[in-house]
C-alpha cells in the first residue's frame, strides 16, 4: 500500500517538473521520517487528505530552487510571496494529479503555506511519514507523504 502510494506521488512530481520546468526531476530513495526530525526547507505547503484516504501531503523546497523555477513559469522577478505561492501550487498539483490513480474519493484541501521551519508533520493515526527526496537542476526538495487508506469508506 505504502509503496503504491509513493509510486503515485513519484509519478506526479516527475510529471510536474517535466511539464513545467522542461527537465527531469531525479527522485531519491524514500525513507521514513524520524520522530522530531527537522524536515522543513525555506518554504513548505501542506494539503489535507480526506475521503478514501486520510492524512497530509507536504512539499518543502529551498528559496534557491524556487527562484530557479519561477522564471521558467514566466515569473522573472522571484520574491518570497511568489515562492510561497509556488510551493502551494506544486503541492496542489501533485496531490490533485494523484487522483488519476487514486480516484475521485481522494479528496484534497486547499494548500496551507508555511515559511521557514520547524515543520511539524501531522501524521495520520497509525500511519507513518515517508520522505521522497526530489532533485531538479541540482536543487533538492522533498515531498512528504503521510496518508493511509480510510477503512471507514472502503
Amino acid at each position: 500500500m505504502e509503496e503504491t502510494i509513493l509510486k503515485i506521488f513519484a509519478r506526479s512530481i516527475t510529471r510536474y517538473f517535466a511539464m513545467v520546468a522542461g527537465g527531469e526531476a531525479v527522485l531519491g530513495t524514500p525513507y521514513l521520517s524520524a520522530e522530531n526530525e527537522s524536515v522543513a526547507l525555506d518554504f513548505s505547503a501542506v494539503i489535507g487528505i480526506t475521503g478514501s484516504h486520510r492524512g497530509n501531503i507536504y512539499y518543502t523546497a529551498p528559496r534557491e530552487k524556487l527562484h530557479a523555477l519561477l522564471p521558467l513559469i514566466g515569473e522573472v522577478t522571484p520574491d518570497d510571496r511568489l515562492c510561497a505561492e509556488l510551493v502551494g501550487e506544486i503541492t496542489n498539483t501533485i496531490s490533485g494529479n494523484a487522483r488519476e490513480e487514486l480516484g475521485g474519493g481522494f479528496m484534497i484541501s486547499t494548500p496551507f503555506v508555511l515559511e521557514g521551519g520547524p515543520l511539524t508533520v501531522h501524521t495520520a493515526k497509525d500511519s507513518t511519514c515517508y520522505i521522497l527526496p526530489v532533485t531538479w537542476n541540482h536543487h533538492r526538495s522533498r515531498v512528504l507523504v503521510s496518508i493511509q487508506q480510510n477503512l471507514a469508506t472502503s
Partner: protein
Amino acid sequence: MKLLIVDDSLIMRRAIERSLARTRFKEVRTATNGRLAVEMFDRYQPDVVTMDITMPDMDGLTAVDLILKRNPKAVILVVSALADKATAVEAIKRGAQGFLLKPITAEAVQTALDDILSD
C-alpha cells in the same frame, strides 16, 4: 472579448493571463474563489471564464452551476489539477465546455480556449 480567470493561486492566475498574449482577449479580470467568481460574472459579464475547482469559500463546480443558472450560454473552461476522469466528466455534465488539467502550459491554455470558442 472579456475573460474572467478564477483560481485561488496567484501563480496560476498570472500564468493563465500570460498565456493569453496571442489570443483575442482584450480585457481580463480575476477572482480567487467561486463566490467572488459569481459576483464578478454578474458585474463583468465575461465572454469566457476559466475556473479552478479546489478553492476556499466556494468550489469551482458549484460556481459553474450558479453561473450557468444566470446565463445558460456562459462559456466556461475548467482548469484543475484533479486528474480523475470522473471530475472532468462531472464538469462537462454540469455545463462547462472544456477541461484542462494542471500543470498547464501556455500552448495548452491557448489551444483549450481556441477549442471552446470554435464550438
